[in-house]
């Protein structure tokens, strides 16, 4: 079978274009996707909408592997998109990786 199990990764920009502990957005047909960069230069991609009231997560403060939503301070895991602590909710996450300084995003 050709192309079996191959996920398509799209080059969406350079890692250096995202500030460490910062985020940038990608406009897609599915809505905005936020790409976060940790201080260890890991990247994560979440839908740019807080599970609480759709706050733009890309504008929050990134710490460890979480982001604090700018609207009402929910803390969202960058890895799973799940709200942390007592809050309940989840935002979709996407596969993303860095290769040779480029950020590669995979959309379902």
């Amino acid at each position: 079978m050709d192309g079996m199990n191959k996920t398509n990764f799209l080059d969406v920009g350079a890692l250096e274009d995202i500030a460490p502990l910062g985020a940038r957005t990608i406009a897609t047909a599915l809505g905005d996707i936020a790409i976060f960069r940790t201080d260890g230069d890991e990247v994560f991609a979440l839908r740019d909408q807080c599970p609480h009231k759709q706050g733009p997560l890309s504008q929050g403060i990134v710490h460890g592997t979480s982001v604090t939503c700018p609207l009402h301070n929910w803390v969202i895991s960058l890895q799973s998109g799940k709200a942390q602590g007592l809050d309940v909710g989840c935002t979709p996450h996407f596969a993303v990786k860095v290769e040779a300084g480029r950020v590669l995003l995979s959309l379902p």
Partner: protein, 817 residues
Amino acid sequence: MNMMVSPRKKLIVIGNGMAGMRTVEEILHRAPGMFDITVFGAEPQPNYDRIMLSPLLAGDKTFDQIVLNSLDWYAEHKIELIAGESVTTIDRAARVVTGEHGTTRHYDILLLATGSNPIVLPLPGVERSGVMTFRSVADVEKMLETAGPNKSAVVIGGGLLGLEAAHGLNLRGMEVSVVHLMPTLMERQLDASAAHLLERSLTQRGMTIYTSANTESLDGEGESGPVHSVTLKDGSRIKADLVVMAVGIRPNTNLAKASGLACDRGILVDAAMCTSDPAVFAIGECIEHNKACYGLVAPIWDMAKVAADHITGLAQTQFTPIATGTRLKVSGVEMFSAGAFMGDETTDDIILRDAARGIYKRLVLRGEKLVGVVCFGDARDAGWYFQLLKDEESIAHLRETIIHGPVTASADPLEALACLPDTAEICGCNGVKKSSICTAIAEHGLKSVDDVRTRTKASASCGSCTNLVEGLLKLTLGAEFSAAGAKPMCKCTTHGHDEVRHRIKGGMLKTIPAVMQALEFHTPNGCASCRPAINFYLLAAWPGEYVDDAQSRFVNERMHANIQKDGTYSVIPRMWGGTTTAGELRAIADVVDKFNIPTVKITGGQRVDMLGVRKEDLRAVWQDLNAAGMVSGHAYGKALRTVKTCVGSEWCRFGTQDSTSMGVALEKATWGSWHPHKVKLAVSGCPRNCAEATIKDFGIIATEAGWDLHVGGNGGIKIRVTDLLCKVTTDEEVMEYACAFLQLYRMEARYLERTAPWIERVGLKYVQEKIVDNAELRRSLFEDFLYAQKFAQIDPWAEESACNTRGKKYDAMAELV
């Protein structure tokens, strides 16, 4: 025909490096006589320990000391070594390899161990002499030709290899700079905290470290002269007689690809180390297994065993990657990291920061298992941790004490403190002994570290003994102490706001990582609550010196506009003292039309709010407003917001002073200043108080005789009417008192504490003593304020719309629609 059938099979190894020869050793160990072995090596030397090139460069070892297998060894095992000839073709159909000098050999089994090649960035000037990589003995020899005292070297790349090169050249007497693209050194092996300590320790050795730095070109005389300097993207220039590029490695797949073997990033192998051709094995840095490539020897030793099992056919083992640990071979720097040291949402951290000894340890646990380790400053227990990590067994029983290592795994720090003799010195800066502190606590009923500071001076200077003082309080007061202790700033630390501020000043702490290290934070980079606070404290403490950290600002302060519930922003330009002009209003009207801004509103702060501006339009909106002379109103900041005024004596029939001009002057003097919370001023022209000055942080009310100065007012949820601070007569006094008050507040209040709760906490009397009674202090607070304003009064809108790199955050990174 004379058929000479060899009883032995023919094994050819391409690559006389660490992986290839280790496999040969493993094969000889399993089946000494099974193969006739030929080794091709591109390097002229016998097999040597590549890892030891760092000590070789540093002068700690000689080449003879790093040889792994001497020529005698090859002879003894009847291995034919063809050194100094690299293989150029493999004819897999005929099973023949050919070297660059024409040597040909036939094989039954072929082992590729071609290692990897250093990545060479295609920078302008890269071909100049003096530019080199760090991979082989030949590279080291080349470096040593140029190295020497009074010469300069630039190492591009602050990873393991780059730093070891830098260290070696530093020991050779060179002036060494390291240029690293990422914000922190060794980001693949260290978290930011450890990287910060590493940077400090390298800087102390005289190296200059440039982080977040990108190289533009390698320069020299004319087109082809030797390199003499390196230019960075930001324009800075560094002198360089030698440039070492250590930016990474790429598996060496050239030969494999050319001979039609399946390759991706590396030569593709299965768990038996077999390539797409069953007669060809591959091992070491040149391979790719399960999407991973390797750059350390530990997994290579495992590969060698597996390959030997399959090549001899004696066992059917499989290669499974195990966790690897990294140490930096820089003498005097103890560092170790392994496993998933960055942690994630499924892990917990145990962090130990011993600021005085420069120690940082972080253990990452998933459930009951240790999954990651970072040690800096003290790596004595690294081996123990690494074993626990590899064993993957529960460490639940060790959890309490594991951070202190296997030996201290039971000692209680309080007990240790209790055992110290009375004469032991606790505070080195002020020479305070244990007995003096304990006596003072008992005699004067001291309850907090601050009390101890005032009484004994212990921990009043650098503050690094604060933990010990706290311990003594705990010992002396028992349970009473925790009740009296300050509330921690947040879950990341046990220290309260005042303590953090005190330590920033006393300890000369100038960056967020430095604060987190010195105060022994338990999280790697804080949280959304402490980071903005620390960022503000640093900004207030070190004006003109501290570089603001945008990522530690709340969204509004980072975007210089207020975020709205739908993710759009509002824009409020300054209108000095609530005054405006036809030109400003016209410019606002034009902006509203041009950008289709849905709502325009007069704010409660006497200015105009444009609501619903799209993030992408912000910069263009600001540019237009700037062009009409307007600047940011900081309606989004923990900063000076508004100075409201009434019309005053210029027009009003009751007005006694020119409140409008006074308000404008105050706003011009104070705009741009950052504070623990928002700050609002108002000036009313008479006691009718139309500017509502008595619910402002600093309110001014004109009288016949001059001005009444009021402080600590607050509208909001919990309304508080101001207290009268004092009465003054001249405009100059108003300015001096207002600025001195703001400075006192900025320097002493806790983050997110407005003037009203601050004054309730410290008392009006305290403020009056400092601002009214003590003219000298008032004067110096005023001057400190003016000094800080020199760096603060830069319109963020103009700055953001002019700067392209900063502008990035307003736009999408890519559009996929």
